[in-house]
Symmetry: C2
Subunit: 246 residues, 2 copies
């Protein structure tokens, strides 16, 4: 049914309010659409790019989800973040035109490719787009700061609650349910992202289930008590500071 998602252009894309076009005039969106390349769908475990690749593009998630991670010489990975529809990937390559992390598809997904050269040209002519690019980069930076806070001084349980709330908010922003959703990443991915062992993640799912806060069925998550979840995180962040992540 959604098999043609990758052919939809910016003006018709249901994400346009979340993605780069946000705040632009209709004719401006059309201009933006001319430089966007729609890529063919990607399969599970397919790489968008590899750490160290030359990269002169930004990529917007059109559908599906992705995981970004940095690997060291021994092959140990640290997951940096997860990307949902409307979010921008490739900001890490802005410094040296070379990616500093790898990005892999967690499910069948589609992306839009934005050549930086042409995006910059367009920015010069279109201040509103320039502002929007700046805003998005700012968002990327503050969500990274949120991650630093989460990793810095939180207990395993706080991290877990934070993670679930973050997903809840982002799905809500996409027009999906904020209390029922499927995890597209493995326990291992979550553990790695949160700086925990996967056993600890598993135990926490069990504990939160037993307390009735959530219901877990494989990768299916139902949040039964948002308030409790928030109260676990509460002491950590100003209430609106859960914007989070990319």
């Amino acid at each position: 049914m959604e098999s043609n998602v990758h052919k939809i252009s910016c003006p018709d894309c249901r994400l346009s309010d979340l993605c780069l076009p946000y705040g632009l005039q209709q004719n401006e969106v059309q201009q933006l659409a001319t430089i966007v390349k729609n890529k063919r769908p990607m399969q599970v475990d397919e790489y968008l790019y590899l750490q160290g690749d030359a990269c002169q593009n930004l990529y917007a998630v059109k559908s599906g989800s992705f995981r970004s991670f940095i690997a060291d010489d021994n092959g140990n990975e640290q997951t940096i973040g997860f990307y949902l529809p409307g979010e921008l990937m490739g900001l890490d390559a802005l410094q040296h035109s070379r990616t500093t992390c790898s990005i892999i598809a967690l499910e069948t997904s589609t992306v839009c490719e934005l050549p930086l050269l042409r995006l910059n040209e367009l920015c010069s002519q279109m201040p509103s787009l320039q502002n929007q690019v700046m805003r998005i980069m700012g968002k990327g930076i503050s969500s990274d700061h949120d991650k630093i806070i989460m990793l810095g001084h939180r207990t395993a349980k706080e991290k877990m609650a934070t993670f679930l709330l973050m997903l809840s908010r982002r799905y809500a922003g996409l027009g999906f349910s904020s209390t029922v959703f499927n995890l597209t990443m493995s326990r291992q991915d979550i553990a790695n992202f949160l700086g925990l062992s996967n056993e600890t993640v598993s135990r926490l799912f069990t504990e939160l289930s037993k307390d009735g806060v959530i219901t877990v069925k494989q990768r299916g998550i139902q949040i039964n008590n948002l308030a409790t979840l928030k109260s676990i995180v509460k002491p950590c962040l100003p209430d609106d500071q859960l914007s989070f992540i990319a």
Copy 2:
């Protein structure tokens, strides 16, 4: 002697190779200098800005050093980063023209103020400046990623070694010694930044001293064995991935 640091303009600033002017032609630097406001010197513990302030500027460190942190409702702080000369502050406000962290001077310091509105105007006319701004934001993002890696899966000792190497590199980049320098932040600040207790930080300084890797005298640090320090971090990061932090 350096009492007039705050009056020096971009073309004459000894930092111009590190800061925004990097890679610009001489006449372009002069143009940039016209929009830069030199601020008066700041004292220890003076705030550059407070979390939540409206902010339409970027700030470059001209001399001294700063600490940025986010506080929650209970007043608990998480240090996000430290800023040395040539580094840019205020990127966190790009999203909503409002700062998401507070920044405080660790010592007597001076900063340059760059109004975003005028910077954007100038970027439209000067593609090389546009690129440079992008590069710097990309640098900010990848150094945040480095911090996420550091906080994610590292032992206290690895974090400590990473922290010292990061400072070493940045001081070296400024033309100072990479092995002898003074910490401008307290043990508490370091602990908070690394997600450790200050007791643990203290113990690690002692341990590294006993092993002869470093010599510590109050806030004075001497690295006696860079190789050992690197070997502590080694399993964690590709060798050149210590660019780090802002």
